[in-house]
Point group: C2
Chain length 199, copies 2
DNA sequence: CCTTTTCTTGACTGATCGGTAAATTTCGGC
DNA sequence: GCCGAAATTTACCGATCAGTCAAGAAAAGG
């Protein structure tokens, strides 16, 4: 036996950042070698193949980034929750220490039309789960009497998912950060306005 | 002299559809050969190189698809305009005769972090122009007294751009078409609600 | 008809792609 | 200390990438 000389978690994070920054196709094994400091065969030995590395990166993004964002929805007050939700989204998108944009949006765009749909299926599930979390949040606020019984949870969830993905696309280019900031500021106000009436 | 045996406009359209469907990287020259029915050298002879083909495809998308969408904003009534705007967007995204999703969103995601930024610059300009068209529309409605003087044209434009891009991402996978439909239905109502108050 | 110009065709380049086989090093177990 | 197993390194594989070269085919101009 011989212990691996690298930390697996750290390596997965580096792989995630590489895919996040360059996308699936443009992240060649060479790029992953440079990003992780490992040699080709060490990567294959540890993770299998490129698709498996992408899946791990996707999982890690889900755990480390997405879940933190959606945790803001746990707040009992929908106004505060949605304000924090979009603030957290903005923070991710403009954080200079992280790659620009969003892993999920980028991957979805690039992999959706692939003939072999293993990876796109994984991303689709992620998007569906996020949508369901939003629906659940609105249903919870409904049950707690925080918002009207008539509110369309499905529609609102779908709408917020759209805003989320769109901000991720625009946040990809630093030139559009101003647009993302304005959008992130206005989005919760629009929704609040719709839910609770003006004031 | 000898006349080319193919119609240039038709060929550009086929090239556009290929890039639209597969993205930049995944659309190899082989794919373009199959899509256009032309041989390699004919393509290079007619268009120069791959990047030039992508630029032409991008231009054509702008002319043929985006402009039609933004033309709905010309209507004097913002309620009708925004309703038609999102209806037109939905129509593009769910049209089975066209590739799924949106050329602009896909290209922006894939090319934004390229070292050589020729193509991403072109897409950034496109996004900026669309944003400006939205701002202009709101300013016009303001001047006509259709919406409040206090309305934040910049913010609303930024917000709508986000929704637009996000719907394009979600529309990329046919599994998410239900989400796009709900989002496209709710978006204009939310904005209208915000602009004119409930009812 | 014949020449000339252009388009078309098919073979080819060097680079890079994802993935693998075999050699070499390094370490834990005895 | 040495042996064997696992990690690392180096070299390589066929396939495909964007782009090119040099012939062959076809049409316009005379």
């Amino acid at each position: 036996m011989r212990a691996a000389s690298f930390d697996r978690e750290e390596t997965v994070e580096k792989i995630m950042n590489a895919f996040w920054e360059h996308g699936y196709e443009a992240t060649s094994i060479q790029v992953l070698e440079a990003a992780t400091g490992l040699k080709r065969q060490s990567l294959y030995n540890a993770f299998g193949n490129k698709d498996a590395m992408f899946e791990l990166a996707n999982d890690r993004y889900d755990m480390a980034v997405s879940r933190k964002l959606f945790a803001t929805l746990d707040h009992a007050d929908p106004v505060i929750a949605l304000r924090d939700f979009f603030a957290a989204q903005l923070a991710v998108l403009v954080d200079a220490d992280q790659p620009a944009g969003c892993f999920v949006s980028g991957g979805q765009q690039e992999l959706a039309n692939r003939p072999e749909g293993q990876l796109s299926e994984q991303m689709r599930v992620m998007i569906e789960e996020q949508h369901d979390q939003l629906v659940a949040a609105f249903e919870r606020w409904k049950a707690d009497g925080k918002i009207s019984e008539d509110a369309d949870s499905q529609g609102l969830a779908a709408f917020i998912m759209s805003v989320l993905r769109g901000q991720a696309v625009l946040g990809r280019s630093s030139m559009s950060h101003a647009i993302v900031e304005k959008s992130a500021a206005l989005a919760p106000r629009l929704i609040q306005h719709y839910l609770t009436g003006p004031n």
